[in-house]
Symmetry: C2
């Protein structure tokens, strides 16, 4: 394939992931089911949801006793106080809230609605179980990458992705929560434009763009294609984890 | 190709685009140079820069006389007052500014730094010429789509894309400025998750995800691959133009 082509393959046949599952093995089985083998330079984009499931990041809201603060906030945002308590337990600070909307800074620095806690596709048990983000998505990505580096022995990039809302624009887009083996943020400083002048746009959110691309095949609904193999992406530069994508609060004009 | 694969092809051999150029012909020549022919269901992502160039959206800052407001703001943001005057001429309102940064609501509703006005890759004349966004990017996309619908006679989607910064996160990502022939915003309301429950995430910024994916091949620097053909994207729903992606100011918590 020429350097100017990129291919995305949604892996078929992944089973419903359960706590303790060996996710790397399931992904390799999916790669094989797609008729492919991993190659150095490939990127695997893995939906946060199955990473969280394999890591057992479930919570049962029946076990949660909401604090006074959670009860007050829950009344403002029209959500279950126990769910709000769980959200707060995953939160550095509440950024905005109004009825139906609770936007926070997640303990790991992501700005997200509801600290990324999700009901959809969590399990058949009804609305009592919710799923938290992985404990350490960069670590989750690294563990998968290390496994693939050892067996089958290829250097791939791994992204743990989620779909998130944004300021200013409608609709969700894929975003990178965890990254290993590629530069989450690609630094173009020092490069020139077509006419030899220094480039104005100098940092590209490479892992977010890869997550957004994969999201086109992952789907949000009942498609159930949580892992996408990306082949042919133009990637260079030293690996940097997803923390590189977080703008420090002191430099952010929109908090 | 199966429904679970997607392919992106950066079109080779596009010439330096000049005002008045027939961009549709140049794109078709690029498709042919890639050894492809357009098919119904394909999406063409076209960098804003070459659309603006073909439409002659240049300005020479030597022709600009800055207003008092532009002079004042220019002193605050450390930019050329004539460039700031041009930015203001493309702007509904100034959202944030500080030294080096000027974030505005573009006249068409996009939240962008510098109203999308760009020096990079504009031309060999040095720093006096800048390039404004197209007059009507949805219209530009529609014109290309209509041309391809008539000759060669295929129903393709067209996205006019740009690379933009964001709140909260470092690095730029591809974004859709103009859209024709596909739902810029895909509405999943009414669909169920894997367990039959109504989906929580209900609107996907499809055109932004396609623009982000294409951006991975377009590059920012001297690669010069402004048009990317995307084949195999899962697209359904009625076409909606890029205006659907703009969150109304009254619903936006981050202005």
């Amino acid at each position: 394939m020429s350097a100017s082509q990129m291919q995305l393959i949604a892996l078929p046949g992944l089973p419903m992931v359960r706590p303790g599952d060996a996710l790397a093995d399931q992904i390799l089985a999916g790669v094989a089911a797609a008729g492919e083998t991993l190659r150095t330079g490939d990127v695997l984009v893995v939906a946060q949801k199955i990473v969280s499931k394999a890591e057992g990041r479930y919570a049962d809201i029946r076990d949660v006793t909401p604090s006074a603060r959670a009860q007050e906030l829950a009344a403002d945002v029209h959500k279950d106080p126990r769910l709000v308590e769980l959200i707060l337990s995953e939160t550095q600070s509440v950024l905005r809230h109004r009825p139906g909307v609770l936007v926070v800074v997640h303990r790991l620095g992501y700005v997200m609605a509801n600290a990324g806690i999700d009901h959809s596709n969590v399990g058949p048990d009804g609305d009592d179980h919710v799923l938290l983000l992985p404990e350490d998505p960069d670590g989750s990505a690294r563990a998968l990458r290390d496994r693939f580096a050892a067996d089958p022995g290829v250097a791939v990039g791994v992204i743990v992705s989620d779909s998130v809302g944004r300021a200013w624009r409608n609709g969700t887009v894929g975003m990178a929560l965890g990254v290993a083996g590629l530069p989450a943020l690609q630094d173009l400083r020092g490069r020139n434009d077509l006419y030899g002048r220094p480039l104005e746009v100098s940092q590209v959110a490479l892992a977010d763009e890869l997550a957004a691309a994969a999201s086109l095949l992952q789907g949000q609904a009942d498609e159930g294609m949580p892992v996408v193999l990306i082949r042919g992406a133009k990637i260079d530069g030293e690996p940097r984890d997803a923390a590189a994508l977080l703008r420090p609060a002191s430099e952010d004009l929109f908090r």
